[in-house]
């Protein structure tokens, strides 16, 4: 049975958004784990990142290589305007399903 209703796309887009242009593979995985409590594999992460980039929701740019990465460059991701709009729309849709007000004492919802 599926226990996680939040899509991986939303998790990755949310993490890229929170890191404000400094998100790349390693810290995106950590950010997602911090929020969701589970680690996403690099295979899944880059699969989603490539899809989001193809859809124009995020944009990637190559940064300078560093010695800690054996001279390999990072690809830093930023959310685009379209991505921000899509994220807000998705959040608003989810919130529209939430009850208007929670009864005091956590009573039974109608």
């Amino acid at each position: 049975m599926k226990s996680n209703l939040i899509s991986r796309d939303m998790e990755v887009l949310g993490a890229v958004r929170r890191l404000r242009g400094t998100g790349y593979g390693v810290n995106l995985r950590k950010e997602i784990a911090k929020v969701t409590g589970r680690m996403m594999s690099y295979a899944t992460l880059y699969d989603v990142l490539e899809r989001l980039e193809k859809d124009g929701l995020i944009v990637g740019r190559m940064a300078e290589p560093t010695p800690a990465r054996a001279g390999r460059p990072k690809q830093l991701f930023t959310v685009t305007g379209v991505g921000e709009k899509a994220y807000s729309t998705a959040l608003a849709t989810m919130q529209s399903f939430a009850p208007q007000a929670i009864p005091a004492g956590g009573g039974k919802l109608a």
């Binding site: 049975m1 599926k2 226990s3 899509s7 991986r8 796309d9 790349y24 593979g25 390693v26 995985r29 680690m39 594999s41 690099y42 295979a43 899944t44 880059y46 699969d47 490539e50 899809r51 193809k54 859809d55 190559m62 290589p65 010695p67 800690a68 990465r69 054996a70 001279g71 390999r72 460059p73 990072k74 690809q75």
Partner: protein, 184 residues
Amino acid sequence: MNPQQKMLVLALAMSGLFGVLFVLAGVFDAFELPAIVGTISSFTAFSVAVVAIYCGHRSSDEVDSMVIKMRDALMGILRLGSATSLLDDSEAALSNTPSMGLGLLRLVTRGDVRKKLEGDLVEEYNEDIAPEHSKLYAQCWFLMHVLLIAVKRFAKALGETSGLAALFRASFGNGKRNGDEPDD
């Protein structure tokens, strides 16, 4: 039972094991562990089946020659990542990483994709995984990520309309095709 028959029996056994793991992956609906176990067994079963079928149609000399070629190819992969003498200063961080995983990653990725994946894996391996865990765990961690990358790339390469790709997506992915619109 001749060697060819033994190999066929082994291939069937491995395929059976793969089938069970495939079902378990679906039952638990979890990606990480069942996927890697399924992946390893599927690759093994597929390889053994191919070898068994090949051996059944070739003379023993040809089989010997094929085995030698396979051994050389495998040794090439193992040596690829550990060729530290060929590394410059900026690549010193590579000398600690598992050579087999690195070799396999270089086999399944190209260009910028390879560079960024290698960088991410090497950085996390050297800074977080290796200092905090045993060498065996760290090496398995590295290899697991490379295998998952290989499977994803392979499934993607099979194409959007391939039935086998759909099977891979159903078992290893999130059940959606690349570029799929969200469900209404």
